[in-house]
Symmetry: C2
Protein backbone atom coordinates (compact mmCIF):
# COMPACT_ATOMS: atom_id res chain seq x y z
CA UNK A 1 0.00 0.00 0.00
CA UNK A 2 2.82 2.38 0.83
CA UNK A 3 4.50 1.61 -2.51
CA UNK A 4 1.33 2.57 -4.36
CA UNK A 5 1.08 5.75 -2.30
CA UNK A 6 4.66 6.70 -3.13
CA UNK A 7 3.95 6.13 -6.85
CA UNK A 8 0.86 8.33 -6.73
CA UNK A 9 2.85 11.07 -4.98
CA UNK A 10 5.59 10.83 -7.64
CA UNK A 11 3.01 11.11 -10.43
CA UNK A 12 1.46 14.14 -8.78
CA UNK A 13 4.85 15.82 -8.45
CA UNK A 14 5.74 14.99 -12.08
CA UNK A 15 2.50 16.55 -13.30
CA UNK A 16 3.13 19.55 -11.07
CA UNK A 17 6.62 20.06 -12.47
CA UNK A 18 5.27 20.03 -16.02
CA UNK A 19 2.84 22.84 -15.19
CA UNK A 20 5.53 24.67 -13.22
CA UNK A 21 7.72 24.71 -16.33
CA UNK A 22 4.84 26.18 -18.36
CA UNK A 23 4.38 28.89 -15.70
CA UNK A 24 8.10 29.57 -15.83
CA UNK A 25 8.03 30.00 -19.60
CA UNK A 26 5.21 32.52 -19.27
CA UNK A 27 7.10 34.42 -16.56
CA UNK A 28 10.30 34.39 -18.65
CA UNK A 29 8.45 35.59 -21.73
CA UNK A 30 7.10 38.52 -19.71
CA UNK A 31 10.54 39.21 -18.23
CA UNK A 32 9.24 38.65 -14.70
CA UNK A 33 11.37 37.06 -11.98
CA UNK A 34 9.47 35.06 -9.37
CA UNK A 35 10.19 34.35 -5.70
CA UNK A 36 8.27 31.65 -3.79
CA UNK A 37 8.14 32.82 -0.16
CA UNK A 38 7.32 30.20 2.46
CA UNK A 39 7.10 29.82 6.25
CA UNK A 40 5.13 28.40 9.15
CA UNK A 41 1.92 30.26 10.08
CA UNK A 42 2.66 33.57 11.77
CA UNK A 43 6.40 33.72 11.02
CA UNK A 44 5.98 37.20 9.57
CA UNK A 45 5.99 36.86 5.75
CA UNK A 46 3.34 39.53 5.24
CA UNK A 47 4.83 41.92 7.82
CA UNK A 48 8.22 41.62 6.09
CA UNK A 49 6.65 42.28 2.68
CA UNK A 50 4.76 45.31 4.04
CA UNK A 51 8.11 46.85 4.99
CA UNK A 52 10.34 45.51 2.22
CA UNK A 53 8.05 46.35 -0.71
CA UNK A 54 7.29 49.90 0.45
CA UNK A 55 10.18 51.19 -1.65
CA UNK A 56 11.75 48.98 -4.29
CA UNK A 57 13.05 51.84 -6.43
CA UNK A 58 12.62 51.23 -10.15
CA UNK A 59 11.85 47.54 -9.69
CA UNK A 60 8.09 47.01 -10.05
CA UNK A 61 6.78 44.30 -7.74
CA UNK A 62 3.53 42.37 -7.58
CA UNK A 63 2.33 39.84 -5.01
CA UNK A 64 0.33 36.64 -5.35
CA UNK A 65 -1.15 35.93 -1.91
CA UNK A 66 -1.79 32.27 -1.15
CA UNK A 67 -4.15 31.43 1.72
CA UNK A 68 -6.53 28.63 2.53
CA UNK A 69 -9.29 31.22 2.73
CA UNK A 70 -9.86 34.93 3.26
CA UNK A 71 -7.87 37.89 2.05
CA UNK A 72 -6.44 39.33 5.29
CA UNK A 73 -2.86 39.39 4.02
CA UNK A 74 -3.77 40.79 0.62
CA UNK A 75 -5.77 43.53 2.36
CA UNK A 76 -2.71 44.44 4.45
CA UNK A 77 -0.69 44.95 1.27
CA UNK A 78 -3.18 47.22 -0.52
CA UNK A 79 -1.63 50.34 1.04
CA UNK A 80 1.51 49.61 -0.99
CA UNK A 81 -0.39 50.41 -4.20
CA UNK A 82 1.11 47.48 -6.06
CA UNK A 83 -0.72 44.68 -7.88
CA UNK A 84 -1.85 42.08 -5.32
CA UNK A 85 -3.82 38.99 -6.37
CA UNK A 86 -5.49 36.69 -3.82
CA UNK A 87 -5.44 32.93 -4.41
CA UNK A 88 -7.55 30.83 -2.00
CA UNK A 89 -6.98 27.10 -1.95
CA UNK A 90 -10.48 26.66 -0.45
CA UNK A 91 -12.00 27.81 -3.75
CA UNK A 92 -11.99 24.72 -5.96
CA UNK A 93 -8.69 23.36 -4.66
CA UNK A 94 -9.96 21.38 -1.66
CA UNK A 95 -8.51 23.73 0.95
CA UNK A 96 -4.99 22.55 0.15
CA UNK A 97 -2.20 23.32 2.65
CA UNK A 98 0.15 24.59 -0.08
CA UNK A 99 0.18 26.25 -3.47
CA UNK A 100 0.91 24.11 -6.50
CA UNK A 101 1.77 24.99 -10.09
CA UNK A 102 -1.81 24.49 -11.31
CA UNK A 103 -3.23 26.92 -8.74
CA UNK A 104 -0.66 29.54 -9.73
CA UNK A 105 -1.44 28.85 -13.40
CA UNK A 106 -5.13 29.48 -12.74
CA UNK A 107 -4.21 32.91 -11.33
CA UNK A 108 -1.92 34.00 -14.16
CA UNK A 109 -4.62 35.85 -16.09
CA UNK A 110 -5.29 38.03 -13.04
CA UNK A 111 -1.64 39.06 -12.61
CA UNK A 112 -0.56 42.05 -14.76
CA UNK A 113 2.78 40.50 -15.76
CA UNK A 114 3.54 43.30 -18.23
CA UNK A 115 3.41 45.84 -15.39
CA UNK A 116 5.87 44.13 -13.02
CA UNK A 117 9.48 42.99 -12.91
CA UNK A 118 9.23 40.78 -9.83
CA UNK A 119 6.41 38.60 -8.53
CA UNK A 120 6.50 37.47 -4.90
CA UNK A 121 4.31 34.44 -4.28
CA UNK A 122 3.41 34.31 -0.59
CA UNK A 123 2.67 30.64 -0.02
CA UNK A 124 0.25 29.12 2.53
CA UNK A 125 1.73 29.10 6.04
CA UNK A 126 3.10 25.55 6.35
CA UNK A 127 6.61 24.15 6.87
CA UNK A 128 5.97 20.84 5.10
CA UNK A 129 4.14 20.57 1.77
CA UNK A 130 4.90 23.93 0.09
CA UNK A 131 8.54 22.79 -0.17
CA UNK A 132 7.51 19.88 -2.41
CA UNK A 133 5.65 21.85 -5.06
CA UNK A 134 7.48 24.09 -7.52
CA UNK A 135 5.22 26.74 -8.98
CA UNK A 136 7.49 28.15 -11.70
CA UNK A 137 9.65 30.32 -9.43
CA UNK A 138 13.23 31.49 -10.00
CA UNK A 139 14.12 31.37 -6.32
CA UNK A 140 12.73 30.13 -3.03
CA UNK A 141 13.01 31.88 0.30
CA UNK A 142 11.63 30.97 3.70
CA UNK A 143 11.01 32.87 6.90
CA UNK A 144 11.62 31.32 10.31
CA UNK A 145 10.66 33.20 13.47
CA UNK A 146 12.93 32.83 16.49
CA UNK A 147 9.74 32.39 18.52
CA UNK A 148 9.35 28.98 16.84
CA UNK A 149 12.47 27.68 18.59
CA UNK A 150 15.96 26.82 17.35
CA UNK A 151 15.16 23.23 16.33
CA UNK A 152 12.97 23.87 13.29
CA UNK A 153 15.65 23.17 10.62
CA UNK A 154 16.12 19.70 12.12
CA UNK A 155 12.37 19.01 12.32
CA UNK A 156 11.40 20.34 8.88
CA UNK A 157 14.63 19.81 6.88
CA UNK A 158 13.01 19.60 3.44
CA UNK A 159 11.77 23.20 3.70
CA UNK A 160 15.13 24.54 4.82
CA UNK A 161 16.91 22.54 2.07
CA UNK A 162 14.50 23.69 -0.64
CA UNK A 163 15.27 27.39 -0.17
CA UNK A 164 18.12 29.60 -1.35
CA UNK A 165 17.52 32.04 1.51
CA UNK A 166 16.43 31.66 5.12
CA UNK A 167 15.16 34.85 6.75
CA UNK A 168 15.43 34.57 10.53
CA UNK A 169 12.70 36.96 11.67
CA UNK A 170 11.47 38.44 14.97
CA UNK A 171 15.04 38.84 16.24
CA UNK A 172 13.68 41.59 18.54
CA UNK A 173 12.24 38.68 20.60
CA UNK A 174 15.60 36.97 21.16
CA UNK A 175 15.87 38.27 24.74
CA UNK A 176 12.42 36.94 25.55
CA UNK A 177 12.46 33.41 24.12
CA UNK A 178 14.50 30.30 24.87
CA UNK A 179 15.69 29.90 21.27
CA UNK A 180 19.46 30.19 20.89
CA UNK A 181 20.35 32.07 17.67
CA UNK A 182 23.76 30.40 17.32
CA UNK A 183 22.14 26.98 17.66
CA UNK A 184 19.45 27.92 15.13
CA UNK A 185 22.09 29.03 12.61
CA UNK A 186 24.16 25.89 13.25
CA UNK A 187 21.07 23.70 12.71
CA UNK A 188 20.37 25.62 9.50
CA UNK A 189 23.89 24.95 8.19
CA UNK A 190 23.60 21.28 9.22
CA UNK A 191 20.58 20.64 7.02
CA UNK A 192 21.56 23.04 4.22
CA UNK A 193 25.30 23.79 4.20
CA UNK A 194 26.08 27.16 2.64
CA UNK A 195 22.51 28.48 2.61
CA UNK A 196 22.33 32.27 2.69
CA UNK A 197 20.57 33.80 5.70
CA UNK A 198 19.40 37.19 6.90
CA UNK A 199 18.47 38.38 10.40
CA UNK A 200 15.38 40.59 10.46
CA UNK A 201 12.71 42.12 12.63
CA UNK A 202 9.66 43.19 10.68
CA UNK A 203 8.53 44.90 13.91
CA UNK A 204 11.55 47.20 14.37
CA UNK A 205 12.63 47.20 10.73
CA UNK A 206 16.08 45.82 11.55
CA UNK A 207 17.55 43.90 8.63
CA UNK A 208 14.59 44.53 6.32
CA UNK A 209 16.82 46.49 3.92
CA UNK A 210 18.83 43.32 3.37
CA UNK A 211 15.67 41.39 2.51
CA UNK A 212 14.58 44.14 0.11
CA UNK A 213 18.01 44.08 -1.54
CA UNK A 214 17.85 40.31 -1.91
CA UNK A 215 14.39 40.49 -3.53
CA UNK A 216 15.32 43.32 -5.89
CA UNK A 217 18.57 41.63 -6.89
CA UNK A 218 16.54 38.68 -8.25
CA UNK A 219 15.59 40.94 -11.15
CA UNK A 220 19.22 41.66 -11.96
CA UNK A 221 20.53 38.12 -11.66
CA UNK A 222 20.40 35.62 -14.50
CA UNK A 223 17.56 33.12 -14.32
CA UNK A 224 18.38 30.10 -12.15
CA UNK A 225 16.47 27.06 -10.88
CA UNK B 1 -10.67 18.10 -12.72
CA UNK B 2 -11.52 19.81 -9.46
CA UNK B 3 -14.64 17.63 -9.10
CA UNK B 4 -12.52 14.51 -9.41
CA UNK B 5 -10.07 15.87 -6.87
CA UNK B 6 -12.86 16.60 -4.39
CA UNK B 7 -14.17 13.03 -4.85
CA UNK B 8 -10.73 11.55 -4.22
CA UNK B 9 -10.37 13.67 -1.08
CA UNK B 10 -13.78 12.51 0.14
CA UNK B 11 -12.86 8.87 -0.44
CA UNK B 12 -9.59 9.33 1.44
CA UNK B 13 -11.40 10.91 4.39
CA UNK B 14 -14.06 8.14 4.39
CA UNK B 15 -11.37 5.47 4.50
CA UNK B 16 -9.58 7.41 7.23
CA UNK B 17 -12.72 7.61 9.36
CA UNK B 18 -13.24 3.86 9.11
CA UNK B 19 -9.74 3.23 10.46
CA UNK B 20 -10.19 5.95 13.08
CA UNK B 21 -13.27 4.11 14.38
CA UNK B 22 -11.25 0.90 14.64
CA UNK B 23 -8.55 2.75 16.60
CA UNK B 24 -11.22 4.19 18.85
CA UNK B 25 -12.64 0.75 19.58
CA UNK B 26 -9.18 -0.47 20.56
CA UNK B 27 -8.65 2.56 22.81
CA UNK B 28 -12.11 2.10 24.39
CA UNK B 29 -11.48 -1.61 24.96
CA UNK B 30 -8.25 -0.74 26.79
CA UNK B 31 -10.00 2.01 28.77
CA UNK B 32 -7.68 4.67 27.34
CA UNK B 33 -8.84 8.19 26.59
CA UNK B 34 -7.09 9.92 23.70
CA UNK B 35 -6.35 13.59 23.00
CA UNK B 36 -5.19 14.76 19.57
CA UNK B 37 -2.97 17.82 20.18
CA UNK B 38 -2.33 20.08 17.21
CA UNK B 39 -0.66 23.43 16.41
CA UNK B 40 1.54 25.31 13.99
CA UNK B 41 5.28 24.53 14.13
CA UNK B 42 6.87 26.01 17.24
CA UNK B 43 3.68 26.94 19.10
CA UNK B 44 4.89 25.07 22.17
CA UNK B 45 3.07 21.72 22.25
CA UNK B 46 6.09 19.79 23.53
CA UNK B 47 7.08 22.48 26.06
CA UNK B 48 3.53 22.44 27.44
CA UNK B 49 3.56 18.65 27.69
CA UNK B 50 6.95 18.70 29.44
CA UNK B 51 5.41 20.83 32.17
CA UNK B 52 1.86 19.48 32.25
CA UNK B 53 2.74 15.78 32.28
CA UNK B 54 5.39 16.08 35.00
CA UNK B 55 2.77 15.31 37.63
CA UNK B 56 -0.59 13.91 36.61
CA UNK B 57 -1.29 12.24 39.95
CA UNK B 58 -2.86 8.81 39.60
CA UNK B 59 -3.65 9.29 35.92
CA UNK B 60 -1.11 7.37 33.86
CA UNK B 61 -0.23 9.16 30.62
CA UNK B 62 1.54 8.11 27.44
CA UNK B 63 2.52 10.17 24.40
CA UNK B 64 2.55 9.34 20.70
CA UNK B 65 4.92 11.84 19.06
CA UNK B 66 4.17 12.66 15.45
CA UNK B 67 6.90 14.30 13.37
CA UNK B 68 7.91 14.30 9.74
CA UNK B 69 11.31 13.01 10.82
CA UNK B 70 13.60 12.80 13.82
CA UNK B 71 12.80 12.26 17.48
CA UNK B 72 13.73 15.60 19.05
CA UNK B 73 10.37 16.04 20.81
CA UNK B 74 10.19 12.45 22.02
CA UNK B 75 13.72 12.81 23.40
CA UNK B 76 12.64 15.91 25.35
CA UNK B 77 9.86 13.90 27.01
CA UNK B 78 12.02 10.96 28.12
CA UNK B 79 12.86 12.67 31.43
CA UNK B 80 9.18 12.31 32.36
CA UNK B 81 9.62 8.52 32.57
CA UNK B 82 6.34 7.84 30.81
CA UNK B 83 5.76 5.74 27.68
CA UNK B 84 6.65 7.82 24.61
CA UNK B 85 6.40 6.36 21.09
CA UNK B 86 7.82 8.16 18.05
CA UNK B 87 5.90 8.08 14.77
CA UNK B 88 7.69 9.56 11.72
CA UNK B 89 5.64 10.27 8.63
CA UNK B 90 8.84 10.15 6.54
CA UNK B 91 9.12 6.40 7.24
CA UNK B 92 6.78 4.79 4.72
CA UNK B 93 4.16 7.54 4.81
CA UNK B 94 5.61 9.87 2.17
CA UNK B 95 6.64 12.57 4.65
CA UNK B 96 3.00 13.53 5.22
CA UNK B 97 2.25 16.87 6.88
CA UNK B 98 -0.24 15.32 9.32
CA UNK B 99 -1.02 12.12 11.16
CA UNK B 100 -3.86 9.97 9.88
CA UNK B 101 -5.73 7.05 11.40
CA UNK B 102 -3.67 4.47 9.51
CA UNK B 103 -0.38 5.86 10.81
CA UNK B 104 -1.68 5.81 14.37
CA UNK B 105 -2.97 2.27 13.79
CA UNK B 106 0.49 1.18 12.67
CA UNK B 107 1.89 2.46 15.98
CA UNK B 108 -0.69 0.81 18.26
CA UNK B 109 1.38 -2.30 18.91
CA UNK B 110 4.20 -0.11 20.27
CA UNK B 111 1.98 1.74 22.74
CA UNK B 112 1.47 -0.03 26.09
CA UNK B 113 -2.26 0.71 26.27
CA UNK B 114 -2.71 -1.47 29.35
CA UNK B 115 -0.25 0.71 31.28
CA UNK B 116 -1.90 4.09 30.60
CA UNK B 117 -5.20 5.89 31.13
CA UNK B 118 -4.61 8.77 28.76
CA UNK B 119 -2.77 8.95 25.43
CA UNK B 120 -1.74 12.35 24.10
CA UNK B 121 -1.06 12.28 20.38
CA UNK B 122 1.19 15.19 19.48
CA UNK B 123 0.44 15.80 15.83
CA UNK B 124 2.79 17.18 13.16
CA UNK B 125 3.15 20.98 13.43
CA UNK B 126 0.67 22.25 10.84
CA UNK B 127 -2.48 24.40 11.07
CA UNK B 128 -4.19 22.91 8.00
CA UNK B 129 -4.32 19.17 7.30
CA UNK B 130 -4.20 17.62 10.81
CA UNK B 131 -7.67 19.11 11.41
CA UNK B 132 -9.09 16.98 8.58
CA UNK B 133 -7.94 13.60 9.79
CA UNK B 134 -9.49 11.95 12.84
CA UNK B 135 -7.19 9.36 14.36
CA UNK B 136 -9.55 7.77 16.90
CA UNK B 137 -9.32 10.48 19.55
CA UNK B 138 -11.89 11.42 22.21
CA UNK B 139 -11.02 15.10 22.12
CA UNK B 140 -9.02 17.55 20.08
CA UNK B 141 -7.02 20.45 21.43
CA UNK B 142 -4.84 23.00 19.68
CA UNK B 143 -2.12 25.36 20.77
CA UNK B 144 -1.79 28.84 19.31
CA UNK B 145 1.17 31.03 20.25
CA UNK B 146 0.54 34.77 20.61
CA UNK B 147 3.76 35.25 18.60
CA UNK B 148 1.84 33.95 15.55
CA UNK B 149 -0.41 37.02 15.60
CA UNK B 150 -4.08 37.53 16.47
CA UNK B 151 -5.46 36.68 13.02
CA UNK B 152 -4.79 32.94 12.94
CA UNK B 153 -8.36 31.79 13.76
CA UNK B 154 -9.59 33.74 10.71
CA UNK B 155 -6.85 32.36 8.44
CA UNK B 156 -7.03 28.71 9.55
CA UNK B 157 -10.67 28.41 10.69
CA UNK B 158 -10.99 24.64 10.14
CA UNK B 159 -8.33 23.93 12.79
CA UNK B 160 -9.90 26.24 15.35
CA UNK B 161 -13.37 24.79 14.63
CA UNK B 162 -12.18 21.20 14.87
CA UNK B 163 -10.96 21.52 18.46
CA UNK B 164 -12.75 21.48 21.80
CA UNK B 165 -9.97 23.47 23.42
CA UNK B 166 -7.69 26.28 22.25
CA UNK B 167 -4.59 26.82 24.37
CA UNK B 168 -3.27 30.35 23.86
CA UNK B 169 0.41 29.90 24.68
CA UNK B 170 3.47 32.15 25.13
CA UNK B 171 1.39 34.80 26.91
CA UNK B 172 4.67 35.93 28.54
CA UNK B 173 5.43 37.47 25.11
CA UNK B 174 2.29 39.64 24.99
CA UNK B 175 4.23 42.80 25.92
CA UNK B 176 6.72 42.17 23.12
CA UNK B 177 4.52 41.31 20.13
CA UNK B 178 1.89 43.23 18.18
CA UNK B 179 -0.79 40.55 18.70
CA UNK B 180 -3.80 41.84 20.66
CA UNK B 181 -5.09 39.16 23.06
CA UNK B 182 -8.66 40.51 23.08
CA UNK B 183 -8.72 40.49 19.31
CA UNK B 184 -7.30 36.95 19.21
CA UNK B 185 -10.01 35.71 21.62
CA UNK B 186 -12.71 37.55 19.65
CA UNK B 187 -11.49 35.96 16.40
CA UNK B 188 -11.51 32.59 18.13
CA UNK B 189 -15.15 33.02 19.20
CA UNK B 190 -16.05 34.23 15.69
CA UNK B 191 -14.91 31.02 14.03
CA UNK B 192 -15.88 28.67 16.89
CA UNK B 193 -18.50 30.20 19.20
CA UNK B 194 -18.32 28.77 22.70
CA UNK B 195 -14.96 27.04 22.32
CA UNK B 196 -13.12 26.61 25.62
CA UNK B 197 -9.77 28.35 25.91
CA UNK B 198 -6.84 28.54 28.31
CA UNK B 199 -4.05 31.12 28.60
CA UNK B 200 -0.64 29.58 29.21
CA UNK B 201 3.07 30.19 29.20
CA UNK B 202 5.09 27.00 29.02
CA UNK B 203 8.13 29.21 29.72
CA UNK B 204 6.96 30.67 33.05
CA UNK B 205 4.51 27.89 33.90
CA UNK B 206 1.57 30.28 34.08
CA UNK B 207 -1.71 28.53 33.32
CA UNK B 208 -0.12 25.10 32.82
CA UNK B 209 -2.08 23.71 35.78
CA UNK B 210 -5.29 24.44 33.89
CA UNK B 211 -4.01 22.53 30.87
CA UNK B 212 -3.00 19.59 33.08
CA UNK B 213 -6.45 19.62 34.72
CA UNK B 214 -8.13 19.65 31.31
CA UNK B 215 -6.04 16.68 30.12
CA UNK B 216 -6.57 14.66 33.30
CA UNK B 217 -10.31 15.37 33.31
CA UNK B 218 -10.59 13.61 29.92
CA UNK B 219 -10.14 10.35 31.83
CA UNK B 220 -13.05 11.13 34.11
CA UNK B 221 -15.46 12.37 31.48
CA UNK B 222 -17.71 10.07 29.47
CA UNK B 223 -16.46 9.29 25.97
CA UNK B 224 -17.47 11.90 23.40
CA UNK B 225 -16.74 12.51 19.73
Amino acid sequence: MHRIKVRVVEDVLDANNTIARANRQDFDRAGVRVVNLMSAPGAGKTALLERALADTGDVRVGVLEGDVEGSLDADRLTSLHIPVVQLNTANGFGGECHLDANMVRSSLAAIPLEEIDLLVIENVGNLVCPAEFRVGEDARAMVCSVAEGDDKPLKYPLMFRACELAVINKIDLLDHVDADLDKLLANLQTVHPGIEHLLTSARTGEGVDGFRDWLVSRVRSPATA
